[in-house]
Amino acid sequence: MKRLVLAVLAVAAGLVPVYWLLTISFKTEADQFAIPPKWFAFAPTLVHYKAVFASGSLESALWNSLIAASGSTLLALAAGVPAAYALNNLKWPAGWADSIGFWILSNRLLPPIVTIVPLFLMLRDMRLLNSIWSLTVVYTAFHLPFVVWMMRGFLAEVPREIDEAARLDGASPMRILWSILLPLVGPGLTATAVFSMIAAWNEFLYALILTQTGAASTLPVGIAARVTQYEIKWGVMSAAGVLAMLPVLVFAAVTQRYLVRGLSLGAVKG
């Protein structure tokens, strides 16, 4: 019981900033800066939320974020899972698997700042700037190292015997992956997908530089625009932040069960 209280307190303390975000989005400006801080006693207002909806760009930003996040996650899984399987289960000349694996991982080491200008120039020449689809492909490249390494870990947990038995039965590697292994690492796959979606949904720098108009702009860029030259529109920004958080929250709550189960290294033991 003592431990439950401690746990609840720890979690509650960690959630204070989120609670504060929520209250700021419902407070008038005078209340936002009140000394001493008003935790509960304030008159709520919907004016900030109305402003967010009235700005007109919310819909397209939401839609673009959705396309970029889900599209890139799907593509990354489609390309990354077979790669992970190949590196883990198929035969390679000595050391190849590790080298390729490390090269894939090393792409995550490239700081975004570093690749953004050449990417910008490359996309400009291909006349693919300001397109939500190019942004999706860029995000796919972000997710791939993560997907390959996470899935490699999960697939490594599956006992070799299963793979070998299926192969003795004459099944092709494709079949083995699709019908036998994937169901076994289903939760791990879900966890990886969730993390990738969250990362893409919240990404800021590339969306800022590679998009130029509302046709491709995503939510984080719109939120950052609330920081103006003179003031930070705390109310509107908080409201937009809360709205941006909701879809991800729903998604995470629904898949929460799989998240933990999926991340269990060693959960799948014969």
């Binding site: 204070v16 900033p17 790669a83 975004p112 490594a156 933990v260 290294l265 060693g266």
Partner: protein, 288 residues
């Protein structure tokens, strides 16, 4: 002599490698090319020699190193403690876990802004609460004061990403072989003994994985610092990514920015190699 056969796996990794190559090989060429060119277009190594005498670059690296190590250690420790605590509960685990996810779900931009408000020395929640409790916080300037600024930024990152580490470790705890733990308990070993001698060694792979994933992101930290402090006050929270961004985009000096990026890449690669070596023996052992 055996005829060289293309390993079957090549076709399987081709899409992933293809996309990655598209996004990274060209930028790498670009970096090397611009790094060795001056603004007027001639070949030069001046961008690289300039790094040696650039005081600000050294400071930025120092800040990044401090930030990375401190944030990483704190995230690992807090994540571990939280995982053990919540894992030992009988009820309420699911609710607590979902609640803990929230900081991670917020767009970093929003998290940084809300913390900026919380840290405000006069109107923010932190100092306001301290004042309400009867203490005088006027020397606590958080992100506005040089001394505490880096620590304040570290705190924000720890707040935001401990949930990630917590999830990884929590999952690993669930997968620990119960038999050895039971055996130890039956033998009469104390809770701490069990933890240090049995559980911790078994958690090593997941700790290394968390360290690697978080470490790589921490070295490249940009969003939060940009919004929270823009690298200030003074130069106190300027990280290497911020410095490169400024050089590339505000000063439009791509040559120098490329040179610095290459240096950062080399350092990060060396560190990653070290960490990956930690992971490999374990994975190989478990796959056997």
């Amino acid at each position: 002599m055996k005829r060289f056969q293309i390993p079957r796996g090549v076709w399987w990794v081709a899409p992933a490698v293809g996309i990655l190559a598209l996004m990274s090989l060209y930028p790498l060429f670009f970096l090397v090319f611009t790094g060795f060119h001056s603004i007027s277009g001639e070949w030069t190594i001046r961008n690289f020699t300039r790094m040696a005498s650039d005081r600000m670059l050294g400071e930025a690296f120092l800040h990044t190193a401090v930030f990375t190590v401190a944030a990483l250690v704190l995230e690992l420790v807090c994540g571990l403690l939280l995982a053990i605590l919540i894992d030992s509960l009988r009820r309420g685990r699911a609710v607590l876990r979902t609640a803990l996810l929230l900081p991670m779900l917020l767009p970093p931009v929003v998290a940084a802004v809300i913390w900026r408000l919380i840290y405000n020395p006069q109107f923010g929640l932190l100092n306001g609460t301290i004042r309400a409790l009867g203490f005088n916080p006027s020397h606590l300037t958080w992100t506005s004061g040089e001394g505490g600024a880096l620590a304040s930024v570290i705190l924000v990152d720890v707040w935001e990403w401990t949930p990630f580490v917590f999830l990884l470790i929590s999952a690993a705890l669930q997968g620990l072989p119960q038999e050895s733990l039971e055996a130890a308990r039956v033998d009469g070993a104390s809770r701490w003994r069990i933890f240090f001698d049995i559980e911790l060694p078994l958690l090593r792979p997941v700790l290394a994985l968390a360290a690697m994933l978080r470490g790589m992101d921490l070295i490249r930290i940009f969003d939060q610092v940009f919004i929270l402090t823009q690298g200030g006050p003074g130069f106190a929270t300027e990280t290497i990514s911020l410095y490169i961004y400024r050089t590339a985009f505000r000063f439009f000096d791509f040559g120098y920015a490329s040179a610095m990026s290459l240096l950062l890449l080399v350092i990060a690669t060396m560190l990653a190699r070290g960490l990956v070596r930690q992971l490999r023996p374990i994975a190989a052992r478990e796959a056997a």
